[in-house]
Each structure stands twice: as C-alpha cells, then as structure tokens.
Symmetry: C2
Subunit: 216 residues, 2 copies
Amino acid sequence: MIGGVTKAETGEKTRQRGPRRDAADNRDRVLAAAATAVRREGIAVPMATIAADAGVGVGTVYRHFPSREALLSALTHRSFELVLAAATQAAETNADSEEPGAEAVRRFLDRTVEHGGDLVMPLRGGPPALDERTAAVQAAVHAQLRALLQAGVRDGSLRADVTAGDLVIFGALLTEQLPHVADWNTAARRVIDVYVAGLAPTAAPLRAAPVVPSPA
Amino acid sequence: MIGGVTKAETGEKTRQRGPRRDAADNRDRVLAAAATAVRREGIAVPMATIAADAGVGVGTVYRHFPSREALLSALTHRSFELVLAAATQAAETNADSEEPGAEAVRRFLDRTVEHGGDLVMPLRGGPPALDERTAAVQAAVHAQLRALLQAGVRDGSLRADVTAGDLVIFGALLTEQLPHVADWNTAARRVIDVYVAGLAPTAAPLRAAPVVPSPA
DNA sequence: ACTTAAGCGGACGATATCTTCCGTTTAAGC
DNA sequence: GCTTAAACGGAAGATATCGTCCGCTTAAGT
C-alpha cells in the first residue's frame, strides 16, 4: 500500500501483476486443509498441522493469512460463499421451474449438509465477528432466501411467518456434527424433513417474533 | 485402590468416609465454571482460566479431574443428566395430564435451550466418546423420549416415524449458539416451533430410515 | 480441644504452539 | 535464457499451557 504507488505509475495499472499461480494454488490448499482440520480437531488446531495437511510450510500459511484469526475469518467467508452458491442455485432453479417453494428450501438445506465438510460456520468458539465482506455475502444469502420464501408463500407451499434469518440459523446448526452419530447425512436429512414439514402453511403460528441476525 | 484396603479393615466399612464438604463444593464449582468457560472460549480453554473462574487453584481442578479429558467427560455427563431431568419431567407431566404429546415434546426442547448455558454436548471438537456411565444416562434419555413419543402417537398429536434419536440429535444441535445472534433463546424457540409443527401426523413421510445414535 | 488425613493453592520444570525471519527456490515477463 | 521479485520452507526465539509436587490449611471425628 505504501511502496506500491511509486512503482506502478503506469496510469491505472496499479496492481497489474496478478498473484503467481503457485501462490493461488497454495492459498486454496491451505484453506481446504484448514476447513478439514478445524472440523476434525476444533478451532485450536495447530497451524503446523494445517500447514502439513496442505503440504506447505508454516511460513506459507502465515504469508497468506497473517494470523490464525485471519485464517478463520477467511474460512468463514468461504463458507458463506458456498452457502450463497447453494441459495442462489436453489432460488434460480425454483424461478425457472414450477416446483413448490418448499422443495427448493429443502434442496437448499440438503446442499448445506452435503457441503458440511467444507463449512466452518461461526458457531461456539468460532471466529467471533463477521468482517465486512463476509457480512455482505451473508446479506446476499438472506436476499436469495427471502426470494425463495416469498415464492413459496405465493405458490402456497410455505407459511408466511418464517424468515430468511430462520433458515440461516437452522442451516448453520445443521453444519455441526455429533461425532458419535455414524451416518450424519442421514440423520441430518431426517431433521430437515421434519423441519420442512413444519414449514407448511397449515402449521400453528410461531410463538416468538422474528429475530434479525445481522445483515440490516 | 491399593492402600485403601489395608486400612479399612473394619468389615464392609470400606470407603466409610465421604468426601469433605468443601471438596464437594469445589467440585461443583469447577464443573459450573468449566461449562461456562467452555461455552465461552471453546474446549481448548486453559485449565488456569477454569480454575480462576471457579475461585480455586489449578491443583484443585486436577485433583478432582485428573486430566482435561476427564473434566470434559464429566461435563458431558452432567449435561446428559440435566437433559435426562428435562426428559423425565416432560414424560411424567405428560403422563399425569391430558396435554397432547406434541406439547410435551415442545416443552422438553424448550427446557433444553433454557439449560443451554450449562450444557456441553459432544459436538465438533468435544469429548470424542461417551463413557459407560454417560451412555447409560443417554439410554435413559432415549427411553423417556420414546415413552413421550408413543404417548403422542397414541393421542394423535405426533407422527409415528420420528424416533427418540431424532429428538436427541435435534436437541443437541439446539445447544449450540451462533455468537452473533443476539437473542438466541428467541431464535431457538422459532426453530423449535417449526420443527414441532413438522411433527404433526399429517406431515409427509421422512425420506431416510431411522438412525440409531449410540445406546443399543 | 486435639489429631489426622483429606484438601488446597500456586510455583515450577517440561512441553507445545505461535509467529517471525531469512536464505533458497521458482514463476513470469522481457 | 536471463532477470527479478514474489513465494517458499522451516529453524528458532518468544510465549503459553500443561500437569505435578509439596508445604500449608481445614474439615471432621474423638
């Protein structure tokens, strides 16, 4: 940020040189290894373990992510991006077809569980706060889910008092895994099915007023 | 176990001397502090922090719980006992009244969330395996919930294809907390309400076969 | 009151992990 | 092919945490 200006005086060509290919690859590998390691050993997993799993030296990890917190933040960001992809795909598919909105919601939740191994949501002990960019992604997720929910209400397959925030919270919980439950995907699918059944418009009203998680 | 026999030769009076009152108190305080600390900072929270929070020295923590793992195990055990109390109370109240089984299930889940701060379920990164005694408590929880579910099926308020294992898994997920959700109890209650609505007998069948978590 | 052993606290040596630093390697532009 | 700066790996010093040990304190039985 300081020395860069002097050198890149070729007009607007600032930051003309992209990252080297090996650097980009390593960054991805570190992120992937970190996701796996964090889910396996918890957020206190040693950086050396992550580095070894990624097949790089610790120095490389620290160059891409200056601190553990930065790495965890990046993990969370990537997780929200994956969730956003799932939400967007569900919303778009739904818009193009005539399937009930409830089915699209179910698919979104299924996807979330399937991606489970790659998701590191900010649950207990996780990275405390969402940075600005991640919050933006989260807001986009909410927007997609809102669209999905509205479509479902319109086609009569969903109740009207459930919010995008409700879905995000439920989805985040599903990314956890009880270690002694062998077939987690099946178990999660059963939870999803009951929840989605509860989204039917005939259901009894909710007791509590909506909670708005964080994106304004 | 080795020196004790020599001394307690007064017939069957082995282990005649119960624990000192201060010792029992301290054990409880350590457990309570540990539960709070673990939920606040994760399972890697330093033992010194737990000791300080409990107002005792580290030596005291290690005397009651010879290792971190033993402490975490004890925490899990206590958590299951609290859940068992909630399940038992729900089952008994239900048996004595004419309320629908669905309401009893909802109360059980509500209780679980309310106890949330004291519960340390074996989620990601938690103590890996349940010891024998804890597994027994877990089995008791399942038994109570089975009774509850059967009553609900009988009185027509619950679907028949949901198992006690499903409820335990769902309840365990609810003990997590998304840190940036301010009013967690409200958020959790909304999730519960949708789930309980999905327990109505009219709902669509589940896709997956039951998963038996661990108690045989 | 006195005795006794259980219980207590926290200093301490051992270990584990963090993060920085720098000599070497390598991708990419000329 | 040569040059250059970005990227790499891993050793090493700084720090944090673990779990033990032992002299002091205190509950509880007589």
